[in-house]
Amino acid sequence: MMGRLTFNLLLLVGAVYFVWSATDFDRQARQIPLLIGVMVLVLQAWVTFKAVTAGDALAAEETSEEPPPLDEARKVAAVCGWMGLYFVLFALIGTLPATFLFILAFLLMQPDVRWWIALAVSIATSGAIWLLFVRLMRFELYPGVLFGGTLPPL
């Protein structure tokens, strides 16, 4: 229930920001963004209101049909952590080593995966990426900050 409400409030804040930023535009330019933004804001406010008022029914539905929130939250946090790790590796050591290390580490952390299968999958994936992107498409993969790459401006 709290997650649903928080997420809806987040979307509501997004819609408010959309309308607020549209007011900075010129008079002509802001008409359409304002029109769309206000519609989105009203609809999202309605959805948020419904999430608040129908809280008990939704909470009962959630507990009966879906896995315990704590368990799910833990899994989501784990996947977010893995994605964050991949991004950090990608930025630091470049695309290919990051992909290799990420897949290897991910598979080695799984309970019943043998080390040589993990190694084979990570080598195969990195090799396929190298073949497709570097050899065939002549694409320049990111070298990584530690190997001469630069961080682009945000």
Binding site: G84, L107, T125, L154
Partner: protein, 117 residues
């Protein structure tokens, strides 16, 4: 090829994750696009988890630019903001749009009345 569908999910997850994030980087060769793709993934998880349909979002995302361009073009050509209500096809589309919004409300209202009767 059909055997691919029998591959254990634990092998697919890291490979698909790596390939999709690499795809996000490859489009503009910008590192921050990878971070953006991760943020969008978390956002999309929230949408799915809390009952927001993803398909409509994707359609809006893909079609949005085209629709916006066509909309601005129509306004510039006609110089009349009510042009969409004066032409039969666009008027019909607007009527359908209103209907799509109103029909669930009408249906719910009728169902409540039927239950009360």
């Amino acid at each position: 090829m059909a055997k691919l569908t029998t591959i254990d999910v634990k092998y697919l997850v890291p490979v698909v994750l790596a390939l999709s994030l690499l795809g996000a980087y490859a489009d503009r060769e910008n590192l921050w696009d990878v971070a953006l793709a991760i943020a969008c993934g978390i956002f999309a998880y929230g949408l799915t988890r809390f009952g927001f349909p993803i398909v409509t979002l994707v359609i809006g995302f893909v079609m949005g630019r085209l629709v916006e361009r066509a909309f601005a073009q129509s306004l510039q050509m006609s110089l009349d903001p009510f042009i969409f209500f004066k032409r039969p096809i666009s008027l019909l589309l607007f009527a359908l749009l209103v209907l799509v919004f109103v029909m669930p409300l009408v249906r719910r209202f009728l169902a409540t009345r039927r239950r009360a009767a």
